[in-house]
Amino acid sequence: MAMTTSKNPHAFFRPYIRAVYPAAADGHAASSAPEAGRDAVFVSLAGLRAWAEETGISLRAAMIDLLAENIWPERFRRNFGLFSAAEMARLLQSRALVLGCGGLGGHVTELLARSGVGRIRLVDNDVFDESNLNRQRFCSERALGRPKAQTTREALADIAAHVEAEALPVAADEHNLAELVAGMDLALDCLDSITAKTALEQAALAAGVPFVHGSVLRDEGFCYANSGPAARLKELYPSGVDRQEEAMGRREGISALAPASVACLMVRLGLNILLGRSPDSPLLHLDLSVPELERFSWSDKA
């Protein structure tokens, strides 16, 4: 453990403890995990800030160090039981690319940050428009006309100041995709054109970055996880979608529900990748008009 001070964190955090969950007595946690056999201690944000300042490291780095001692940020207390301390630390170290900060991207960003993902690169060259108000998480009346990536980053700073967030107000295209995916642990496709989505999947897989697709229309949506090597959007849309068809698609309705729910599924798939639980998924089709969720198999999978 890279604790940069000789201070005992357990003594330091005594005034900042919000809850203590005793170590499982039944051997449930008797694994090789570093937190096994130790009480889980949940400490306040004020305490974490004080510790980070004292030790001269970032809030995020402090959270990662302390999780090795089974000292959890109180903000993640309700993540307890869903993720181990080691998994929480892994999420805090992970880098996610969110391409598109509209309907899917806003919800995806919020859910990644609240789940614990520690580094997020936001890309969008658009500004919020009144017609976005029915479905886009960070579109508010006050935000109309403001850049989506920057507004989303500001919202993120308000929700989770420890997250290392970058906002890039650029249009993703074949020229910069390789640069945008470089160094990422995960690329989440929240773009609004099949052509751009297809290019992102190819760029991500070429760079060895796992890809999570999401798309919505009316009350429905698709998503899947793909760690390669086969690019699935090319397979789904073998003849592609032309410019006119893309333009027609942008005039179609998209409900408030579809992006929010597809974003949940995308983040689930993304967390599964980041935690090494599952690198791929079938194609999931969510129809909120019923509602129902259907799985489709890929041609080369059982």
Binding site: G100, C190, S215, D219, G249
Partner: protein
């Protein structure tokens, strides 16, 4: 042959009264294809981008069999 057909999003506009949960029950002569079924239902072929038969992607000229469950999708590209 008897087929179950599910339509996605904008393709539902082509079949008035379409019920998303039940889909459509269609009776068709043996030997029909995915494209012939679409024509029979009045779905514009150029708008159909993805076809799933019994949970797997198929091409428009693939033959259908009795009991097949067919789902038609347009381009779903919104973000």
């Amino acid at each position: 042959m008897k087929l179950t057909v599910k339509l996605s999003t904008t393709l539902r506009d082509c079949v008035p009264g379409y019920e998303p949960e039940a889909g459509l029950q269609v009776d068709m002569p043996e030997g029909g294809t995915v494209a012939q079924l679409a024509q029979h239902l009045g779905l514009p072929l150029q708008d159909i981008k993805i076809v799933m038969v019994n949970g797997r992607q198929h091409k428009v000229d693939d033959l259908l069999r009795d009991g097949d469950r067919v789902a038609y999708f347009p381009a779903v590209g919104g973000g």
